[in-house]
């Protein structure tokens, strides 16, 4: 060994000397040729011992020397790029890890783009293209030979994964395509596959191998955020290979298991997203969640509870993976328990954003689909308890979306957890969300059949109607003439107008407001009662004077009115009538209603009705040009549609005729704009507004605004905001604004998002309604305080709408400042 060693040493020394000094092309060529003998696979090779010695001790030095000599003049010493080919062959054919390290080293050492750098970079690109990276990694899979191995491995790892960053930094705009991350990482994936193939081959051959380096490369690439690129290549290939082969499957499991803990999360989230379904995931991961604590944490907590960005299919494959093996199923039960707890916890309901709540609900439903009866039975009591607590918390919420989620999940979950119990059935409107969630809850094999069942009846009627339709419309004219058949002239029967065909109502409607009151209070004749209710609004608008005599009494009757028979549109009728009463006689009726808002014996529904009525009436009163219109239209409420009568068409015809026959001498505008009138709300705004603020912090036995009746509080705040907004241009606006800001200040940290939304919109309406000068003169401190609060909310509130509203209010404040203080000249 010793003589060989010294022989190699001598030869290399001489060659290095020649290389570094000689300017003669032929001399260099021969020197390189002599060195090349030491490379594996060269013609006329040196002794194996010498080759090994060269590779181990001297190869890096030779490469460094070669890189150092690289320049255009040096390469030009021999024609036709001979020297360059030979030069490159050392890097491409010698031990790959050393070649790679030397190349990276020289690239990192370069100061900036230059000929030298470009040449080396191009060589590196060739290195990558010829698949040498696989050789680099393969080398690391063999059992270690030297004590310094870990350090080298660490360096290699950094260089392999950080290659795009290094190259990008050095080459700047001259960067090559191959080094862009989107190209490099798929390539790296391919190379990992080839290295794995080599590993599998050598395992088959009976040699020991370790995939830990590959795992570290994979993990590091994932930590760098390149999951999509690298796993996009790896996962499909591994899926295909591991399908039939136990060896491949074990290699896969090993590959994932040896990923360092700190990279586990990045890898797993990437895998779960890329893998197509639970079977694939199960094949790639094996029982990883059982073995690795980190993996368990990521899969059962982090992805489910701490993030909410994953798509439903991802969730399905993750939870399906947990359900596929008997060792993992206990985890699934535990996940379900925790999900239910989170879903139902009142603080989560209040403080997590809606998308996350939806995410948790989705996961919950998927879990339920996967779990069997027996497993659910085991922990039924516990599950039911947290479900019921959760349902209560959710139904208490004042946000409709949260309530809706509660209803859907509660229906499905209770049916699964307690199948023999009575079915929960909530009344919610079907929409995209509910359909999506319910589709998730359907057991997988059954999931297809409803779709088909839906499809078939929709096809059938079409088929059945086609012949009738064609007979109706498509009978040729010639056949109609003269023939005495059944089809004869059927189409001549043109239908008359049937729009008047409505449900029959008895004609006992009272003709006077007093009769209505009497009918509504004492009538046992329900037809008369209904007719009175229907006629009331029109009567009130027609005879305001008569109404004023009984206004408060009428309001009292209407407020206490109960729906005894199921009259269609009862709520709307009652509300419109109440609004009409308030509009006709605002001050006393508003005073009465606001006093009743804080009275004892009312249901929450009635209290909210009071608020709605006050808002609608205020809106009606403050509408410009109200008076000329009101007697005509008869339905002041927004949302009520004028009934379609033939009169307008008739009038249009007559007007058209008049216009045609009339000669006009001037082209002046035929119509005047709406008359300017004072805001009628001006006089009465105080009656609407201040009494509502009076007692909100005084709980009654049946009504606790600051306690559990937060829904009504939310409505109250919204109503106050609306009243404030409608009081624009009135004299009381300043006082109202001041009171409202104080009110908002006391409630600003309320836990309910709906209440907070109301507060924020109330602030906005103060800013809109109170004149800017008065705002600054009378309420400067309040404004400053509100401003800092708004800034906080805009940044930190969990509810998206709240943040949005806060930003809007801030913008209004900003605008206000600009109107008062014009931007200072620079």
């Amino acid at each position: 060994m010793d003589p060989a060693r010294s022989a190699v040493l001598l030869a290399v020394r001489e060659a290095l000397h020649n290389l570094s000094t000689s300017e003669d092309g032929g001399h260099i060529l021969s020197t390189l040729g002599a060195l090349k003998r030491y490379l594996q696979g060269a013609e006329n090779p040196a002794l194996p011992g010498e080759q090994e010695e060269f590779a181990r001790m001297h190869f890096s030095a030779v490469l460094r020397c070669l890189v150092g000599r690289l320049s255009s003049g040096w390469l030009g010493l021999l024609p036709d790029g001979q020297l360059e080919d030979l030069w490159a062959s050392f890097f491409l054919e010698g031990p790959a890890d050393q070649a790679f390290l030397v190349l990276m080293e020289s690239i990192e050492g370069a100061a900036g783009p230059s000929f030298h750098l470009m040449k080396v970079a191009q060589l590196l690109a060739r290195f990558l293209n010829t698949g040498r990276m696989a050789a680099v990694m393969e080398g690391q899979c063999r059992p270690p030979a030297e004590p310094a191995f870990p350090l080298l491995q660490e360096t290699l790892l950094t260089k392999v994964v950080g290659l795009p960053d290094h190259l990008g930094n050095r080459l700047q705009r001259e960067n090559l395509e191959a080094f862009l991350p989107q190209n490099y990482f798929p390539l790296l994936g391919e190379e990992i596959m080839r290295a794995l193939q080599a590993v599998v081959d050598s395992l088959r051959g009976g040699w020991d191998c370790s995939v830990s380096f590959l795992s570290r490369v994979l993990g590091k690439a994932c930590v760098h955020g390149r999951q999509k690129e690298i796993l996009g290549v790896l996962v499909p290939r591994l899926t295909a290979l591991s399908e039939g082969s136990c060896l491949w499957q074990r290699v896969c499991w090993r590959l994932v298991e040896s990923v360092p803990d700190r990279a586990m999360e990045a890898l797993l989230t990437g895998l779960v997203e890329v893998a197509a379904g639970p079977e694939v995931l199960s094949r790639l991961l094996g029982n990883l969640v059982v073995k690795s604590r980190k993996a368990r944490f990521v899969m059962t907590r982090k992805i489910l509870f701490l993030q909410h960005r994953h798509s439903t299919p991802t969730l399905q494959s993750l939870l399906g993976y947990l359900a596929m093996d008997s060792q993992r199923r206990p985890l699934l039960v535990q996940v379900l328990r925790e999900l239910l707890e989170t879903w139902g916890s009142s603080s989560a309901v209040r403080h997590t954003p809606l998308p996350q709540q939806r995410y948790v609900s989705t996961a919950l439903l998927i879990c339920l689909v996967h779990l069997g009866e027996a497993e659910l039975q085991d922990s039924r009591d516990e599950l039911l308890a947290s479900l019921m607590a959760g349902v209560k918390n959710r139904l208490d919420s004042s946000l409709p979306a949260v309530r809706r989620l509660g209803m859907i999940v509660a229906e499905v979950a209770s049916a699964r957890i307690h199948p023999e119990g009575p079915r929960l059935r909530f009344q919610y409107e079907e929409d995209e969300l509910s359909r999506e969630l319910l589709a998730l809850a359907a057991p997988l094999p059954v999931a297809d059949s409803p779709a088909e069942a839906e499809a078939s009846p929709s096809v059938a009627p079409v088929a059945a109607e086609t012949p009738a339709g064609s007979a109706d419309g498509g009978v040729p004219q010639a056949q109609l003439e003269g023939s005495g058949s059944d089809l004869d002239s059927d189409d001549e029967l043109v239908p008359y107008d049937m729009s008047g065909d409505q449900e029959l109502k008895s004609g006992k409607a009272p003709a006077y407001v007093r009769d209505c009151v009497e009918a509504l209070t004492s009538s046992e004749d329900w037809e008369r009662w209904e007719a009175a209710l229907r006629a009331l609004e029109g009567l009130i608008l027609r005879s305001p004077a008569a109404v004023r005599e009984v206004s408060v009494e009428l309001a009292k009757v209407l407020l206490h009115l109960e729906e005894k028979t199921s009259v269609v549109g009862f709520e709307g009728l009652r509300q419109r009538a109440l609004v009409a009463v308030v509009v006709t006689d605002p001050a006393p009726v508003a005073e009465y209603l606001t006093s009743q808002f804080y009275a004892v014996n009312f249901s929450l529904r009635q209290r909210m009705d009071i608020l709605d009525v006050l808002t609608l009436a205020a809106q009606e009163l403050s509408r410009p040009g109200r008076l000329p219109k009101a007697p005509q239209c008869g339905s002041p409420s927004p949302g009520s549609q004028p009934s379609s009568t033939p009169a307008p068409a008739w009038r249009a015809v007559v007007e058209e005729r008049i216009r045609n026959k009339t000669r006009r001498f001037s082209q002046g505008s035929a119509r005047r704009g709406p008359d300017a009138r004072p805001n009628e709300f001006n006089l009465v705004a105080g009656y609407f507004f201040f009494p509502l603020l009076r007692h909100f912090d005084r709980p009654l036995v049946t009504f606790d605004l600051l306690g559990e009746d937060q829904l009504v509080l939310g409505r109250l705040v919204h109503t106050l905001g609306a009243l404030m907004y409608l009081a624009v241009n009135t004299t009381v606006a300043v006082a109202m604004g001041k009171a409202l800001l104080e009110f908002v200040w006391t409630l600003r940290f309320h836990g309910d998002a709906y209440v907070r939304r109301g507060l924020l919109s109330a602030v906005s309406s103060v800013l809109l309604s109170v004149p800017a000068e008065r705002l600054l003169a009378d309420l400067p401190d309040e404004l400053l305080e509100a401003r800092s609060w708004l800034a906080d909310v805009a940044e930190q509130d969990p509810d998206e709408d709240c943040r949005l509203l806060a930003v809007r209010a801030l913008l209004l404040l900003e605008k206000l400042r600009h109107t008062l203080v014009p931007p200072a000249p620079p």
């Binding site: 059944d486 059927d490 029967l493 043109v494 239908p495 008359y496 107008d497 049937m498 008047g500 065909d501």
Partner: protein
């Protein structure tokens, strides 16, 4: 079709003067060129009025039911004989020829129900009468004018269809055996083979009692109305099995009477909602809603020339002319003898 629909029609004219609710209507005569058509109406007060459609006045009043409601009127093709059924449990046969108005014969009814009777009369002297029988669910068939009881049609013991509500005797062209369609209290319609005294087929059309139906023997299709909110169209196939083809939803519940126009183009229903509805018979497309009456419409009737009459609880009879028929179409539907001497009668 896209143009705005025709405005709702108005009645052509209105007959007033019955002084009580009109419960039965029947057109008499009126084929083309054969003098003046007449309209017979039966009222709650037991009177039968004979109206001239030319002068629009009542030309005669028949009082034979002792102040009890007249529920059914029908003329016979031969002679000028009128059948009237009343709630006094009498069925009178009147002779109207040459201005007479006398009860010639009468049959005692034994059922207090609301069922209207039905006749099957050809050109022969003898004719057949179906009327509610003694037992509450029976139908009795008589041969007239001898008043011999042919048979009693009693449903099987376990069927329990309730009382018969309306009857229609008819005879298929191909088959001389008389058949009876009966609508029952439980909402079913049954087809009886009279000579074999058995039910050929029965189908449940409604959930409420059948209040009225009419049958188009040429198309083997019928339509029935009940107290509920829908019309049912049913058909009879070659095996004489009834089946429901379709139902048609209405705006308001309650149909008192259904009639198909003799040319089988349209049909009219008398509604408890004070309205008469007109449908296209083949497609059941709604064509018109006639709003005139202010009380329940009890009966509708079509004349051979297409005129529609509706009698209502508001004591008025409205006459409508909708979708006029081609005059050559109407002739075969009335016996040739029927109209001829009516002109003479009307003059008297």
């Amino acid at each position: 079709m896209a143009a705005s629909p025709l405005p709702p029609p108005d009645p052509q004219f209105v007959l007033r003067g019955t002084q009580s609710a009109v419960h039965a209507l029947h057109f008499f005569g009126g084929a083309q060129g054969q003098g003046c058509p007449l309209l017979l109406s039966g009222s709650l007060s037991g009177l039968v009025h004979i109206w001239s459609l030319q002068t629009r006045r009542a030309v005669a009043t028949l009082d034979g039911h002792g102040g009890q409601c007249v529920t059914w009127l029908q003329t016979l093709p031969q002679g000028h004989q009128l059948l009237s059924q009343g709630r006094d449990l009498k069925l009178h046969l009147w002779d109207l020829a040459e201005g007479r108005n006398a009860v010639v014969d009468s049959v005692a009814l034994e059922s207090m129900g609301f069922c209207r009777s039905s006749v099957l009369a050809g050109t022969q002297e003898r004719w057949m009468l179906a009327m509610p029988g003694r037992g509450s669910d029976e139908v009795q068939i008589l041969e007239m004018p001898s008043k011999t009881s042919v048979c009693t049609l009693k449903p099987e013991a376990d069927a329990k269809p309730g009382m018969p509500m309306c009857l229609e005797l008819w005879q298929a062209d191909s088959n001389p055996r008389p058949l009876l369609l009966a609508g029952y209290e439980d909402g079913s319609v049954a087809l009886w083979d009279v000579s074999e005294r058995k039910v050929c087929s029965r189908v449940a059309c409604h959930t409420e009692p059948v209040m009225g139906f009419d049958f188009d023997s040429q198309k083997a299709r019928g339509v029935s109305g009940s107290a509920e909110k829908a019309l049912a169209v049913w058909s009879l196939d070659e095996q004489q099995a009834l089946q429901v083809c379709r139902t048609h939803e209405l705006t308001n519940p309650g149909i008192a009477d259904v009639k198909i126009r003799p040319d089988r183009k349209i049909l009219a229903t008398a509604g408890w909602d004070h309205r008469v509805r007109v449908f296209h018979w083949r497609t059941m497309k709604p064509l018109a809603v006639l709003r005139f009456h202010s009380a329940t419409v009890h009966c509708v009737a079509f004349a051979a020339d297409g005129l529609l009459a509706a009698g209502s609880g508001d004591q008025r009879i409205s006459i409508w002319s909708l979708y006029p028929t081609h005059s050559d179409m109407s002739a075969p539907l009335l016996g040739p003898a029927e109209g001829r001497e009516v002109g003479a009668h009307a003059v008297a």
